[in-house]
């Protein structure tokens, strides 16, 4: 019996409500903003800042997944499609109290000379796109000209968190921003693409 989307929403809501330690949203936004501005001053190259934000997010994600699995007690996801649902409705809800909308995309079909298997949601290349209508990290932020031209993705830490967390559950993904309202686009969207499933690796020197 697959967990329905409504049930995921309810689970997410419960975890959020059950958290005893919450942080003031303004303080959170100001802290993150100060962090980004400091990185910009230190590296002076927006591409590098994007990379560093992603790296920081990766480190956060690898630790965050443990907390998430402990609180949510959600079992293994059947396919990548379900991963997208859980991330959006339970993950984002329980940590940021936002529920981005998810749009799934099947992987591009393999070339005709290869196997005749139709694209499945578990093959490499499957992806989902998260559309955030509100972004608590970017309250009050207005990007200056140089940041716009330099290609800064202000909330790139989120991409890193997704990559780190999913890697810990044996999925190698690529998460990137497609658009951002801070840059003048209509919506803020993150695309998460599955690269491959990771094999369980036996730790070296165990016998």
């Amino acid at each position: 019996m697959a967990t329905t989307s409504k049930q995921y929403k309810a689970i997410g809501e419960d975890i959020w409500k059950g958290r005893t330690e919450k942080i003031n949203a303004e303080l959170f936004a100001l802290t993150y903003g100060a962090l980004v501005v400091q990185l910009i001053q230190d590296y002076e190259d927006y591409a590098e800042v994007n990379k560093q934000l992603e790296k920081m997010g990766y480190n956060i994600g690898t630790r965050l997944i443990e907390d998430f699995l402990a609180r949510s007690a959600i079992g293994r996801c059947a396919d990548f499609r379900e991963v997208g649902e859980v991330v959006a409705k339970v993950g984002f809800k329980s940590f940021l109290n936002i529920t981005p909308t998810v749009v799934h995309a099947a992987p591009p079909p393999p070339s005709p000379s290869r196997s005749s298997n139709p694209p499945h949601s578990n093959t490499a290349g499957a992806s989902f796109t998260l559309t955030l209508d509100e972004n608590p990290l970017a309250e009050f932020v207005e990007l200056p000209e140089e940041a716009l031209e330099g290609g800064l993705w202000f909330s790139n830490v989120l991409c890193g968190v997704l990559r780190g967390a999913l890697e810990m559950v044996q999925m190698q993904v690529q998460a990137t921003f497609i658009s951002d309202v801070l840059r003048g686009d209509e919506t803020t969207e993150i695309r998460v693409t599955l690269t491959k499933y990771l094999e369980e690796e036996v730790p070296v020197g165990d016998d």
Partner: protein
């Protein structure tokens, strides 16, 4: 009828200014040629300020201003405005030392220009030059500008006490001016 708004940091550095031409009908005060919006002023305009009919001037300020200005030549309307604003800073500071309210109604009057001021808890001074009485409107306007200013300060990319160049802030202040002034 025009309004001039200046935002000044605690160290009196100008951070933002705006000139707003109100489309509301002017109050029945004495109209003078200065009520028009023509940017090309000549020396006669300044002379017009001196000989304007409306009301009392604060004598010390007027003398101070007269002594200070010697810039003759076209287009010093801007200079006159700035002088008036700067001259009122002393008065503002005196009032602030005595009372601790935010909205100081009209602190100074120079011929037909009244200066109203608003001092934020962070010691930012908002100075508005206007010709007509409009206490309620101006008070609401100042409060809105204060809110917009606070939001700008929360932007991590904005350094405190530097000139405000955000186009969003500019657009919103203009809209607010249109609404209340």
């Amino acid at each position: 009828m025009s309004h001039h708004l200046f935002l000044l940091s605690p160290s009196d550095t100008p951070l933002y200014n705006l000139t707003h031409y109100s489309s509301k009908p002017a109050q029945p005060t004495s109209t003078s040629p200065l009520a028009s919006n023509l940017p090309s002023w000549s020396t006669s305009a300044f002379a017009g300020t001196l000989t304007a009919l409306s009301g009392a001037t604060s004598a010390t300020q007027a003398h101070h201003v007269q002594g200070g200005t010697v810039r003759i030549g076209g287009g010093q309307d801007r200079h006159v405005i700035q002088m008036i604003a700067n001259a009122s800073l002393d008065v503002i500071e005196e009032v602030v030392r005595k009372e601790s309210i935010m909205y100081l109604k009209s602190v100074d009057k120079f011929n037909e220009w009244t200066v109203s001021a608003f001092v934020t808890p962070g010691n930012m001074k908002f100075v508005l030059l206007h010709e007509a009485r409009n206490d309620d409107g101006i008070k609401t306007f100042f409060n809105e500008v204060w809110e917009l200013y606070v939001k700008t300060m929360l932007n991590p990319f904005h350094t405190a006490h530097t000139p405000i160049r955000s186009p969003v802030f500019d657009a919103r202040v203009r809209a607010s001016a249109k609404k209340y002034l």
